[in-house]
């Protein structure tokens, strides 16, 4: 896809920075909505959806970049965490009398905020355990990344099975207080929890950025994704890096799952699995192993999906993400931001 490379070259020549690209895109979107070519509301909702996808895709790309395999169970980690929060809300917190909802402008109550860190922790521990028990053994054996991916398919199925055994297949919901949508200018309506969702996503991304650029283990993670063999030979503790990669990845997936459950106001055992295509589309778009790319890719996938409903049957939204995925894989597998092989 030389168009993109040509754009990049041109951009480099006139010294365009990411900020310039961003402002350009924003301008184009505003113009298009003024001309009624696209509805701004869809773009905004797409960004909210994109925030949720981003939480998932950033974690997914970390694992893909460091451990070099497609973690098919990632979606089901989202599901598991969402249900763990449901459990914490309904059982221990409920019995402690902490049942309030409608915190500030949001539909959920502060108990959700109490439950969330636990789900993150449990997800991280579960991921590390699965790595030690399963994936590390396959790596030591020299199994190809396809076999490891296949194994993660088994893990995905098993995780969903656990969720279904414990909670059954019916739709569940976090205790919530119905709130009105917010009316914003330019005919834009956003759901009440939108600010929470995008806020959490932005804060988490910022935290990840700090972690990767300022902490020793974060830099080691970047180094390992960059060149695994060199990392080992340099003396980097690759087992430690692997552990942290899983912890971050699962932790972010956990947050994504809870955000999704809040946004959709429902939980289903298949919620994470259905999210896999948008997640992978975002990862490939942004370049495997690049969390910033995964964030950008997530926004693109989210917005494209929502905007497409102007012209296509909304039931086909998942196909849009898939189309993006397929096109990227065929034309530019290294993604928009990926520059290396």
């Amino acid at each position: 896809m030389d168009i993109l490379s040509k754009i990049k070259l041109l951009g480099n020549r006139i010294k365009l920075t990411p900020i310039h690209y961003f402002l350009l895109v924003v301008m184009v979107i505003i113009i298009l909505s003024f001309l009624s070519v696209i509805k701004l509301e869809l773009v905004v909702n797409g960004l909210i959806m994109g925030s949720i996808i981003a939480m998932g895709s950033m974690g997914l790309t970390l694992v893909y970049g460091n451990l070099k395999f497609a973690h098919i169970a990632h979606g089901d980690f989202m599901t598991l965490a969402a249900y763990i929060v449901l459990f914490i809300l309904m059982v221990p917190l409920h019995s402690m009398g902490l049942q309030s909802t409608g915190l500030g402008p949001f539909t959920f109550g502060y108990p959700l905020l109490l439950a969330l860190p636990f789900a993150v922790l449990i997800a991280a521990l579960a991921a590390i355990t699965l790595d030690v028990v399963i994936y590390r053994r396959l790596r030591d054996r020299g199994s190809s990344t396809v076999i490891i991916a296949m194994c993660s398919l088994g893990v995905a199925i098993a995780l969903r099975g656990i969720v279904q055994v414990i909670w059954g297949g019916d739709i569940e919901q976090y205790p919530r207080l119905s709130k009105l949508y917010y009316q914003l200018p330019m005919d834009v309506r956003i759901p009440p929890d939108a600010i929470f969702i995008t806020g959490v996503a932005l804060i988490s991304t910022f935290f990840l950025h700090l972690f990767l650029t300022k902490s020793k283990i974060g830099k080691a993670m970047r180094a390992t994704a960059d060149n695994t063999e060199l990392a080992r030979v340099t003396g980097i503790n690759t087992n430690l890096v692997t552990m942290w990669t899983w912890a971050l990845s699962a932790g972010f997936a956990a947050i994504a799952g809870v955000l999704l459950a809040v946004f959709q106001a429902q939980l289903l055992p298949s919620m994470g699995w259905s999210f896999l295509i948008p997640l992978f589309a975002a990862v490939i778009l942004g370049g495997i192993g690049n969390p910033y790319g995964a964030f950008l890719g997530a926004m693109i996938v989210g917005v494209s999906g929502e905007v497409s409903t102007q012209w296509i049957n909304p039931s086909y939204k998942p196909v849009i993400a898939f189309a993006i995925l397929a096109i990227m894989l065929l034309m530019r597998p290294q993604g928009i931001l990926g520059g290396k092989d």
């Binding site: 020793k216 830099k219 970047r222 960059d226 030979v233 003396g235 980097i236 503790n237």
Partner: protein
């Protein structure tokens, strides 16, 4: 007692044997070069020392202790540093970050050591924050060397450090290598630019088809017509 002693090592990948009963040793402060045609197993030898390839026969001792079968990270921790031939810097990390990674094994603040090491490589100093991927070939090679020095290794293993470099850079790299050696560090060098390497070496080995062929003092091998004909090119 040698600093590093490789005794009759047989090693390879899967079913393919690359090294056949290869022996080599190196003492403190020595600069030892391994020369030989492509495919003779030189790189494999270094990878075996580092524990990336496990030997099926023979033994490797470092500072008197056997290290065959020890995990790579421990070998690095014990004092052997390695610079691979290609892809030897983290291209998406800055020079400083690359050096920090070199010191990963140590806890504590690496900044002092970084300054020390950068004194040896003044060209890298004003580019410290630049991502390694944007450096020239020669600068990358210098960075790769610098990274390996961060842990004050007892032995430095260098795999073809001048490969693909312009003649001026080649000279600069050899100078650096000598400088590092003169500060007391033992260096095991693999080189295609055999002539130049032999000039600065205490001793050298000739490896071909995974077997020891010859060894001796650097100057002797340089002046040996057989060696010159077979391995040093025209």
């Amino acid at each position: 007692m040698n600093l590093l002693n490789i005794a009759k090592i047989t090693a390879g990948y899967g079913d393919t044997e690359i090294l056949h009963k290869v022996s080599l040793n190196i003492d403190k402060r020595e600069l030892v070069t391994v020369v030989g045609p492509n495919g003779s197993g030189k790189s494999t030898l270094m990878k075996t020392i580092l524990g990336i390839v496990k030997p099926t026969k023979g033994n490797i001792t470092f500072q008197g202790e056997s290290i065959a079968g020890t995990p790579t990270q421990e070998i690095v921790r014990n004092g052997i540093s390695y610079v691979p031939q290609a892809y030897n810097v983290f291209t998406s990390l800055s020079i400083i970050e690359n050096l920090e990674m070199g010191a990963f094994i140590n806890s504590g603040d690496p900044s002092k050591k970084i300054s020390e090491v950068l004194e040896l490589f003044p060209d890298l100093v004003d580019k410290r924050k630049v991502k390694a991927g944007y450096l020239s070939g020669g600068q990358r090679q210098m960075l790769a060397l610098a990274r390996a020095l961060m842990l004050n290794p007892a032995i430095l293993l260098l795999d073809e450090p001048t490969a693909g470099l312009a003649p001026m850079m080649i000279e600069a790299v050899f100078e650096k290598i000598q400088l590092i050696n003169s500060s007391g560090m033992a260096i095991l060098l693999i080189e295609q630019n055999a002539r130049e390497a032999l000039k600065i070496s205490n001793r050298a080995y000739v490896l071909a088809a995974g077997h020891n062929q010859l060894d001796g003092k650097g100057k002797d091998l340089l002046n040996n017509p057989e060696v010159a004909r077979l391995y040093l090119g025209g």
